[in-house]
């Protein structure tokens, strides 16, 4: 009997121990020292390698701090985590954010503005950035982001195919959708498969990037103000969608191309042109293919280019260490000064001393499209737009069948606008 009791006692003690261990497990970890900077970003693949190299280089410069990067999955997972960390006040010291997402973060107090005086101390001034890019980093008169780059949607072409089709000059001088189609048709005759590669299937961002480039080229604008109806130009949208639809006819370009297929097709010389982001450049270069790149030609009268920017932001922390904050300013300045490395990945450096440097100007084909920041078009400024946002999904939901050739451009665009109006009508969550 007593034997059994003591066994029970032992078990009770064990249970109590296990319970207390569990509670201790919930306690927060030790606090960090003032020289350890936490830095979150969403850059993977080639961009991730370059960014890791930049962070290592800055750490190695012995500037009195050590930055540790945390890489999270691109898109909604990253932005949800960052927003939650900021809402809880336990955010990293510095993070990367697309310029297009600032409108969804700054109004809710999830970001803290940069101090212009402190920036000047580390040698960064407004004049070091392209005006449009600097402006996009502002919200309500305050600077919430420091741009690292501009990464537009551009046109790549296979120089050998272009030579054989005799369209090299025309590629640079074309001014109308008809000319574009003609060039694509000539390239198609050379490749025997497609004239143009463009992957969009199941990827709202890709659809939006091309659409918005041409839409803005018609001179149309898109203004989204919560509480009001979306201000859009339907005629311009229909014109744009009809043109895109006409390209995706399985001769000029595949009707149902997805990202992977489009890249591999262009890589294997099965098409002459490729519509893609500048971040695709490393893959094309590594393949040692004869490739050149240029801004998407102005086909509808007005110079315009869809782009986004990677920027540095200060997520809200409930306890800010002034010392660490100072180190962050230094770190950002040091990365910007080394950003010619970042340009190797295709991006246009935002920091003008680098953009104007001989080293960057010598980078081909990167410097061909270096002029884009002067006329860049970002997503409309409203809390639900931007890279990896639901906005681009909603675009895809309504116009993918237009791209696929089965939907009516006007009906597709109307569906998208109805969706926008619904979002604008809802209470703004930030």
């Amino acid at each position: 009997m007593s034997d059994q009791l003591s066994r029970r006692g032992l078990l009770k003690a064990a249970a109590a121990l296990a319970g207390s261990g569990l509670l201790v497990g919930c306690a927060p970890g030790a606090s960090r020292s003032a020289t350890d900077l936490s830095y979150w970003h969403l850059l993977t693949g080639g961009d991730g390698t370059v960014m890791a190299g930049l962070v290592d280089a800055v750490n190695a410069a012995n500037l009195g701090f050590h930055a540790t990067q945390t890489v999270l999955a691109w898109g909604p997972p990253y932005y949800t985590k960052l927003a939650m960390a900021s809402a809880g006040g336990r955010a990293p010291d510095v993070a990367i954010m697309h310029a297009s997402r600032i409108a969804g973060y700054a109004p809710g107090g999830l970001l803290e503005p940069w101090d212009l005086d402190l920036l000047a101390e580390v040698g960064l001034h407004e004049s070091d950035f392209p005006a449009r890019v600097w402006e996009k980093c502002q919200y309500d008169g305050k600077l919430y982001a420091i741009a690292l780059d501009t990464h537009p949607f551009v046109l790549y072409y296979n120089t050998e195919h272009a030579e054989r089709a005799g369209v090299t000059d025309a590629l640079h001088s074309m001014k109308s959708p008809e000319e574009f189609t003609e060039i694509a048709a000539k390239l198609q005759k050379v490749t025997g498969k497609h004239g143009l590669s463009y992957g969009y299937l199941g990827d709202g961002s890709q659809m939006w990037r091309l659409f918005y480039t041409f839409y803005r080229q018609t001179g149309a604008d898109m203004k989204l103000v919560p509480g009001q109806k979306a201000q859009v130009d339907k005629d311009a949208a229909v014109k744009t969608l009809t043109f895109i639809q006409s390209l995706l006819n399985d001769t000029i370009a595949s009707r149902s191309g997805d990202g992977g297929t489009a890249t591999s097709e262009f890589l294997h010389g099965e098409s002459g042109m490729f519509l893609g982001g500048v971040w695709e450049l490393p893959v094309l270069k590594d393949a040692k293919m004869p490739v050149d790149a240029l801004p998407i030609p102005t086909l509808f009268g007005t110079q315009a280019a869809y782009a986004d920017s990677h920027t540095f932001v200060l997520p809200r922390q409930s306890k800010v260490s002034p010392e660490r904050r100072k180190h962050v300013y230094t770190m950002v300045a040091e990365i910007l000064k080394r950003s010619v490395k970042w340009a190797g990945g295709g991006h246009i450096p935002a920091y003008q001393p680098v953009a104007h440097s001989a080293e960057y100007q010598a980078l081909k084909p990167q410097s061909n499209y270096a002029g884009i920041p002067a006329y860049v078009n970002y997503d409309p400024d409203v809390w639900f737009t931007g890279a990896g946002s639901d906005f681009q999904n909603y675009f895809a939901e309504n116009v993918q069948n237009v791209f696929l050739g089965s939907g009516d451009p006007a009906a597709g665009f109307d569906g998208f606008v109805a969706r926008l109006n619904k979002l604008l009508d809802r209470p703004q969550p930030v």
Partner: protein, 311 residues
């Protein structure tokens, strides 16, 4: 046992009763101590969030903390008027119907086949059950490559027979079917295993008796096997319906709700409204509407099963 002179004598029964009560109290305490780790986690991670979620659904709470404060039934009203909510709910029910029926019928067929006593039975059992052990991410990797419209295995095979390529995940007409096929391949193993175990539990004598009475194999199937499997079927239908209603992973990764919202499930809509749309209050309201639906389904099934077992 001790008795005092001044106090009334305590009978033997009373003493044992007291002892029992004390022992029982001790046992209850010990029981609670053992249940405590689970109870604490259950309260912390299930009860508290559930109650807090109910509270949130009556507020305008957002991820950023803007717009908090009670809003009454506004979120519920908005959700009930929201065409996207109804569309997602419709998609979820459609998925449940499309997936539950084959998951029951096919798993039974597979179990019957294996139970026939084919050679290499372990290999069949293993291959039908193996996909169930895979993580949803792995399953989605396989299938999204196979479904790829230009490079995919399925369209490659179809092309050999001269069929036109199908955009499995992008064509609104077939996307949901593709998701169901993937789900079927992935999860049928569990149902199959349960059916197989139940089949092997049917007493051999019943078949012998039926054979003596002249019943053929089909007759035996419908008069012995299927009725004997009823409890298993009832259990599987319940589990399957509940699992299908809360479908999320494979849809999120395969199509992200597309094309044109044709595969967006209600759980995905809750996730979108809350985590990428930042509106916790609204998203909680939808989850509570959905919760009511699930409770109703569970109650209905409970009633049906009870009536059956009573009969």
């Amino acid at each position: 046992m001790s008795t005092a002179i001044d106090t009334p004598p305590v009978t033997a029964e009373e003493v044992t009763a007291q002892g029992k009560a004390r022992a029982k109290r001790g046992e209850t305490l010990t029981g609670w101590a053992f249940a405590a780790p689970f109870a604490v986690l259950f309260v912390l991670f299930l009860v508290v969030p559930a109650v807090y979620g109910l509270y949130l659904s009556f507020t305008g709470e957002t991820l950023t903390g803007a717009g908090s404060g009670l809003v009454g039934f506004a979120n519920y009203g908005e959700a009930l008027r929201d065409p996207d909510m109804w569309k997602s709910l419709g998609n979820t029910l459609w998925f449940t119907v499309l997936s539950t029926v084959p998951l029951i019928v096919l798993s039974l067929a597979l179990a019957l086949l294996v139970n026939l006593g084919l050679p290499g039975r372990w290999l069949w059992r293993l291959s039908f059950f193996l996909p169930y052990l895979l993580a949803s991410t792995v399953v989605v990797m396989f299938w999204s490559w196979m479904y790829n419209p230009t490079l995919g295995l399925i369209n490659g095979v179809l092309a050999k027979f001269g069929a036109a390529p199908v955009a499995w995940l992008q064509d609104p007409k077939v996307a949901m079917v593709s998701v169901v096929i993937t789900t079927l391949w992935w999860t049928i193993g569990f149902n199959f295993l349960l059916y197989l175990a139940a089949l092997q539990n049917i007493p051999e004598q019943q078949f012998e008796a039926a054979a003596i009475d002249g019943a053929g194999k089909w007759r035996q199937l419908f008069s012995i096997v299927i009725p004997q499997l009823t409890p298993t079927t009832a259990l599987l239908v319940t589990l399957q319906v509940l699992a299908s209603l809360k479908v999320f992973d494979q849809i999120y990764m395969l199509t992200n709700g597309g094309p044109a919202g044709k595969t967006r499930s209600i759980v995905e809509y809750i996730y979108e409204s809350g985590f990428t749309g930042y509106r916790f209050g609204f998203s909680s309201a939808i989850s509570y509407l959905f919760f009511v639906l699930i409770v109703l389904v569970a109650l209905a099934q409970y009633k049906i099963i009870n009536r059956r077992s009573a009969a």
